[in-house]
């Protein structure tokens, strides 16, 4: 048994080293993801697009945490519950019936970064990335994930197109 533990620990050590060597190699789907996360807008006014992006983030109740006009970056976060209170009560009661402490996904923090880059004299490229961290009711991290659902990005860009129009018309 002891020998097994040593082998396991050694294996963990070796695997930790191997993982770092593989860091920062683009995976097979990165071009596909880039397409999903990117749209080209027919405007050279990157600043206006950034303002429309900031307006949209506020529409979606995000708090802007960072912005740099020259690099064209805006980042924002927001905190949300994972499930309604009723769901938490049900899980707590079920856990109590089984004499177990209730552990469930409680809160989540969303992260979004929008990057606007001037392409040429006529167009601006916008790339957005969404991610979230989920915490359980004990405050521990339950999940860390980048959000890759294409539908999320399609809806975001629809909203951004709308925001560009609304902002341009001072609405």
């Amino acid at each position: 048994m002891k020998k097994l533990i040593y082998i396991f620990m050694l294996g963990c050590l070796i695997s930790a080293c191997a993982t770092d060597k593989d860091l920062y190699i683009p995976d097979a789907n990165y071009l596909e993801r880039r397409n999903v996360e990117t749209r080209i807008f027919d405007t050279a006014n990157t600043k206006e697009l950034l303002i429309a992006s900031a307006q949209l983030l506020q529409d979606m109740d995000y708090t802007i945490t960072e912005s740099d006009t020259e690099i064209g970056v805006i980042t924002a976060t927001k905190d949300r519950n994972v499930m309604p209170t009723a769901g938490k009560v049900v899980l707590t009661v079920l856990a109590a019936l089984n004499n177990q402490p209730a552990v469930y996904e409680d809160k989540q923090k969303f992260y979004v970064s929008i990057v606007n880059t001037k392409l040429n004299g006529r167009q601006t490229k916008t790339r957005v990335t969404f991610a979230r961290i989920v915490y359980d009711n004990l405050g521990k991290v339950a999940e860390i994930e980048k959000l890759d659902d294409p539908a999320l990005y399609t809806e975001f860009f629809d909203k951004l197109g709308q925001s560009v129009f609304l902002t341009a018309n001072n609405i």
Binding site: D20, L23, R34, I71, S113, V115, T129, A131
Partner: protein
């Protein structure tokens, strides 16, 4: 036998523990060696273009950009795919731009030179420029 094992384990623990100052200042690692694998130079004077490409490369690698500052030349992000944080700085030097990256995962610094090589390879492809070693 048990006593000697305990003494050994105690000694190991003491040797492994670094003081607060050592941890705060990374005193156990060589500054020159660290800079060597974390730094590359690119033959361009266009700082904004280099910074834009760093942002694009980081996004390709699953990073969410958290901070960017053109004046200081720094970009920071968190990768939700491998849970590492990275700061990349850009500074002009003659007709080149010096790019330096440092990354960590949780409480552990990424000290594997190959990881940085991978990052600079991806950045080179994005910039269409060769990453030159600096030191």
């Amino acid at each position: 036998m048990k006593k000697s094992i305990l003494i050994c384990l105690g000694a190991l623990l003491l040797a492994a523990c670094a003081t607060t100052n050592q941890v705060a200042l990374e005193s156990k690692t060589s500054q020159v060696a660290t800079r060597n694998y974390q730094t590359r130079s690119f033959d361009t004077t266009d700082k904004v273009n280099v910074m834009n490409n760093i942002v694009a490369t980081m996004q390709d690698l699953g990073f969410v950009i958290e901070k960017a500052d053109k004046e200081i030349g720094t970009i920071s992000g968190f990768s939700f795919t491998n849970q590492t944080t990275m700061t990349v700085s850009v500074r002009p030097q003659g007709k080149s731009m010096i790019v330096r990256a440092n990354a960590s995962k949780g409480t552990r610094a990424i000290t594997e030179p190959q990881a940085y090589q991978n990052f600079f390879n991806a950045l080179s492809q994005s910039l269409f420029l060769t990453a030159n070693e600096v030191l």
